[in-house]
């Protein structure tokens, strides 16, 4: 009887030792609003965008990327909302934790404000997880284009 209890205790201790460190902290979703342009002498890429530079250049064909706005949302509750506002363009995000750990269902609304008139330009619903990025090509803006990046960190 005593040996059974000891076995059970050892089993629980090993399980705890193995799986407790795996209970990682809450995820965050990073979203960035980027202005992509082609310049003869491109500016230094902001550190937040350095890891995306080659992807952004490959996908959108621009050589300069400026960060117009960014937001890091800690996913510590089941439903989160955030906004990256600008005077003429803004993005609203609703996020919901999926039943599957590390997965999030997000709903993105992209708005533009031209001549005081707000207009919804796109609604996107997606499931995102892991270290994957999602890129959105937005409207033409100035000499370039607006690009949105979303990533679970």
């Amino acid at each position: 009887m005593a040996s059974r209890k000891l076995t059970a205790l050892i089993f629980l201790a090993v399980l705890g030792a193995v799986f407790l460190p795996m209970a990682h902290a809450e995820d965050s979703i990073w979203s960035g609003l980027v202005l992509a342009t082609n310049e003869e002498h491109p500016k230094q890429t902001p550190p937040e965008l350095e890891k995306y530079y080659s992807k952004l250049k490959g996908i959108f064909g621009y050589n300069q990327f400026e960060l117009l706005g960014q937001h890091m949302e800690l996913m510590d509750s089941s439903i989160e909302h955030w906004l990256i506002p600008r005077k003429d363009f803004f993005m609203h995000v609703d996020s919901q934790k999926s039943a599957k750990p590390g997965f999030y269902r997000i709903k993105l609304d992209l708005w533009q404000d031209i001549d005081e008139e707000k207009k919804l330009i796109a609604q996107i619903e997606a499931r995102i997880s892991g270290q994957n990025s999602m890129f959105i090509r937005g409207p033409y803006y100035g000499k370039g284009q607006i690009v949105i990046i979303l990533m679970v960190k």
Binding site: F11, I59, A122, I124, S133, F135, I136, G138
Partner: protein
Amino acid sequence: MKTFEEKLTAWVDGELKGRELAEFEAELAGVKEAKPLKLAANKIGGLLREHGRAPELKNEDFFNHQLMQRIEAELPKQEEAATPPRRKFAWSLPRLALAGAFSMAVAFGIFQMAVPGKVANQPAAPESPNSVEIINTKGGGPGISVSTFRSQQNDVVIWVEGSKYMPDKNAQAEKHKEK
């Protein structure tokens, strides 16, 4: 003095004679079933006499040999049936499951402790194609379309086409100041 049953048996067997036979047959005159009974009994008696003996064995030794072989063949089965059931395996199913889970946990723990450095130094595995899944997209108005594709590096790209051009007012203001 013979009873009726004894006289009947004697009559069927044909052992009644003379006056005794005549008296008994007179007694049986009113019994219709008597004659058919006698005929049937005689027939059965005849058949028994004819076939009543078992056929003689022409090769007794062979028959005995076959019989003994069959007995011997059946003996081991009887012994097996008589042997006590084998002792059950010491570990029950729950114990086996517990031991399996424990072993897996230990192996996983060793892997986590010993290998993570190697895993961290490896180039990142290709991203799972299912980790970004587009559920729905919708353009905000007429002329605006939203399409989705995957880049060569397997990233999900959403292409919003047809939205209005947006002048960069800040850049315009700066240019105006420079002038």
